[in-house]
């Protein structure tokens, strides 16, 4: 039994006892078993403490105070959670285990400008930010100039860091270049897209009757399992049903904003799920891949959902979706699962179901979180390949020895089972396979079931890790958002322009031998 199991068993026992579900004999028996386990674990912990006391004496940092700075994403709860836990839990742990005192401060910047903040500091060789919560697509841009540490040797020297992660996370958050065995990051939090559903609307009998009458007897999905069977066409019918501007109610919202990678992340599922690709990372070929027929159809399909979204949705990003969903304006919403508690208006940290803001009309009991719709394939199956979210920890290559050692110690602490359990309990998405495999994992937070489903079996994937990521993304965001907002006349033009520009960027940067075709000279938006 691990501390994780123990904690869960204890919680279950208390819950059952409170509910009066246990008789006296059962209560005593289970309590005794739990007590024995606790005693065994306490003995183990005591022996570990003796060992750590010895280790503490040998630690060259013992007695010192180290100030660490973590650069993370502003307004992004999982980033904040990492820093809060560093100060609350790692600080006493480091004192106990290593004998040094450590203080963490948090520097933050929004998604769209965090890389600039990191890059301008790292470019000058600064160790201002000892640990950075990077976005996965920045790995190449951070690794290529040698700004972050290649972790292979560190992992070899510290077997505790050789952890089995979910495959999507193990590749997406760690590896650069794609296909190599170079490890540059540790998964800080995993993330996938989920669909957030107003369950009170879905289960309303009048709504069900009206929907069934309009859709040949087809019912609204009622449970998580029924949402697993929802394909994109049925989802569109649901969105259509709930779109009633006169009642200030709309069917859905995606992220269509030009800011950062918002529109890209929510348009890619319409391409990836039907076999489309962003590029060929091996050759750097973009033209002919990014503007394929599948991708053109995918972008057009994505835009079709704009008619079921509230006005102004072309500017929607992460925060706007939280606002509009918790205000009760939309019936469903595609959003990063990491924002589960915020989308449900659930208190953080707090127990599932605790309301964060009483003034908001949507409360946790009104929301169901499920995997987003599948895309029907020719063989009748449903395919889901959505964009991978989430961020890795990366270590500054300019850290001095002491700060690097503390950073490594912190990483070891971060992946302790009890730390991962606490991270999960507070709403963070762990990427450690053992944590997700734990039988009680899905009950810890309402969004975990959807997250676990979507991060497995290739249902989520990342796009470029190339150092030219920012430049390629800027071109794409402008063209795709332009198409969504009717500024660019067609999806074909938006994708042709994107492919040509990105091909040119990669060619000019020496990342691809493939030049943009002659047709590109005539393409502009």
């Amino acid at each position: 039994m691990t501390p994780t199991d123990l904690s869960r068993e204890h919680a279950a026992l208390v819950k059952a006892a409170k509910a009066g579900n246990l008789n006296r004999r059962e209560l005593l028996a289970r309590g005794a078993a739990l007590g024995l386990s606790a005693t065994a674990l306490a003995s183990l912990a005591a022996s570990q403490r003796v060992a750590s006391a010895v280790a503490r004496q040998d630690n060259p940092l013992a007695g010192q105070t180290i100030d660490m700075t973590i650069l993370g994403i502003a307004g992004w709860p999982p980033s904040r959670l990492g820093v809060d836990m560093a100060n609350e839990l790692f600080k006493p742990y480091a004192q106990e285990t290593y004998g040094y005192d450590v203080n963490f401060s948090f520097e933050e910047s929004p998604f769209e400008s965090l890389f600039q903040k990191a890059a301008t500091s790292l470019q000058s060789g600064s160790a201002q930010y000892n640990i950075i919560i990077s976005d996965s697509q920045w790995l190449g841009a951070l690794a290529e100039p040698g700004w972050i540490v290649r972790l292979n040797d560190i992992i070899a020297e510290n077997p505790e860091l050789d952890i089995q992660f979910e495959e999507a996370a193990a590749i997406g958050y760690r590896i650069y270049p794609d296909g190599s065995d170079n490890i540059y990051g540790f998964p800080q939090e995993g993330d996938t897209i989920a669909v957030f559903v107003r369950q009170d609307l879905m289960t309303d009998q009048a709504e069900r009757d009206a929907y069934m009458a309009a859709n040949d007897g087809e019912d609204l999905p009622q449970t998580y399992d029924e949402w697993l069977e929802v394909d994109i066409d049925r989802y569109e019918r649901i969105c259509q049903h709930f779109t009633r501007p006169d009642e200030n109610l709309y069917g859905t919202a995606f992220q269509w904003s030009k800011v950062y990678d918002f529109v890209s992340c929510y348009a890619y599922p319409f391409m990836f799920s039907n076999g489309g690709e962003a590029w060929d990372p091996a050759t750097g070929q973009v033209e002919g891949i990014a503007n394929s027929e599948i991708n053109v159809a995918g972008l057009e399909h994505n835009k079709r959902f704009l008619q079921y979204a509230p006005p102004g949705a072309t500017n929607y990003g992460i925060a706007e979706e939280v606002d509009v969903f918790t205000a009760g304006t939309i019936a469903t919403c595609w959003q990063w699962s990491a924002l589960g508690p915020q989308m449900m208006n659930q208190l953080v940290p707090g127990e599932p179901g605790e309301v964060a803001d009483e003034a908001r009309p949507v409360t946790p009991d009104m929301v169901l979180i499920a995997p987003p719709p599948g895309f029907p394939q020719e063989d009748g199956s449903l395919n889901r390949v959505y964009t991978l979210g989430g961020q890795p920890w990366v270590l500054n290559a300019f850290n001095d020895e002491a700060h690097q050692q503390v950073a490594i110690d912190f990483m070891k602490f971060w992946y302790l089972p009890e730390t991962q359990l606490e991270f999960s309990r507070r709403g963070g998405n762990s990427a450690v396979t053992a944590v997700l495999d734990d039988p009680g994992y899905e009950e810890l937070q309402p969004h975990f079931a959807a997250y676990k489903y979507m991060i497995r079996e290739n249902r989520s994937k990342d796009f470029w890790h190339d150092p030219n990521y920012a430049e390629m993304l800027a071109v794409q965001q402008e063209a795709w958002n332009g198409y969504i907002a009717d500024v660019v006349e067609s999806a074909q033009l938006a994708l042709d322009y994107t492919a040509c520009e990105q091909q040119g960027i990669l060619y000019d940067a020496g990342r691809s031998d493939i030049e943009p075709s002659e047709a590109c000279a005539d393409i502009s938006i």
């Binding site: 600039q116 030009k258 102004g312 500017n315 430049e471 800027a474 500024v487 938006i525």
Partner: protein, 323 residues
């Protein structure tokens, strides 16, 4: 060097003599050619260190392919960055949008500013005038980051107060910042709102510079208002007004913060102007060479505007001298 002399009996002369006695160093400086150099030296050093050196550095970088994230050394590519900019069709669209934005915002703020300036000028005895003026200047002193954020919230189609009123009044909501037909006009309107007070200030300053005697003469002769403005006020106040327009023009040409916060240059590229594009090239794509080339072009355009204004300002005098 001519020596400063005062009539012997004046208090100024007495204090001058006293100073000469007290500060022999100062006297020595005063009487040498070094004095003006010492006075202007720090300013020159400041100018060279903070303006000339960075400008030359910028010019130098514009001839290189230099990308911060590429891990490759900067490569000298002569005028290739400028040629790429010249050839890129997007840049012409960008310049066209920026010039349209500049003309409309400066024109709008100038017209409104002059109109309100004249009204305030003529309302000298109105109670609460000072308070009204102070309130009127508020938009100008607000940081653009606050203005951009406020307006993004005010104009929000779902939660914004502007749409609350449009719905009440005409039964319709507008996507001011997300609609391609409205976003550009909305950005202009907010910029005009923000900078009209500056033009009011310049108009009031211009009006204050008009000699009272000329205004009184115009009033005695009962010259119509439009003629008064054309023949009396503008000839006297035009330098201050043109200075205001020049400053606004240069500022509007490099506007970055307001569209960045309100629309992020969108939808598509509808509100993307030179300043924002420059920022993106430099600090999102980290293409320092290309960004430097675009910055040099922007600088040249700003200098051209300044030259045109100065030429227009002195045109009449030049023509009169020639005749």
């Amino acid at each position: 060097m001519a020596q400063t002399t005062f009539p012997a009996e004046t208090p100024a002369a007495a204090s001058y003599q006293q100073a000469r006695r007290r500060l022999p160093m100062a006297r020595a400086l005063d009487e040498t050619r070094a004095f003006p150099v010492i006075l202007i030296g720090p300013v020159l050093v400041f100018f060279i260190v903070w303006n000339v050196v960075p400008l030359l550095w910028l010019l130098g970088v514009s001839f290189y392919q230099y990308k911060l994230t590429s891990a490759r050394p900067a490569e000298y590519i002569q005028f290739e960055n400028f040629i790429d900019i010249w050839r890129a069709s997007e840049v012409w669209g960008l310049l066209g949008r920026t010039l349209s934005f500049m003309l409309l915002t400066v024109g709008g703020a100038t017209l409104l500013g002059m109109l309100l300036g004249f009204l305030f000028w003529g309302s000298g005895k109105l109670p609460g005038r000072r308070l009204a003026l102070t309130l009127l200047f508020t938009p100008m002193v607000l940081p653009p980051v606050a203005v951009g954020t406020f307006y993004r919230l005010i104009l929000d189609p779902i939660f914004g107060i502007a749409n609350f009123f449009t719905e009440k009044l005409i039964g319709q909501r507008f996507d001011f910042l997300g609609n391609k037909d409205l976003a550009f006009a909305t950005t202009i309107a907010v910029d005009v709102w923000m900078w009209t007070p500056f033009m009011i200030l310049m108009t009031l300053a211009a009006l204050a510079s008009v000699p009272k005697a000329e205004l009184e003469a115009a009033e005695i002769d009962q010259i119509p208002w439009l003629k008064r403005i054309w023949y009396v006020i503008l000839p006297n106040g035009k330098f201050i007004l043109m200075l205001g327009i020049l400053l606004r023009t240069i500022d509007a040409f490099k506007t970055t913060d307001l569209p960045y916060l309100m629309t992020n240059g969108g939808p598509g590229n509808t509100t993307e102007f030179v300043g924002l594009s420059l920022y993106r090239t430099g600090f999102e794509a980290f293409q320092m060479g290309e960004a430097s080339a675009l910055a040099i072009i922007t600088l040249l355009i700003a200098i051209a505007f300044a030259s045109i204004y100065l030429y227009v300002l002195s045109y009449r005098e030049t023509r009169a001298q020639l005749q």
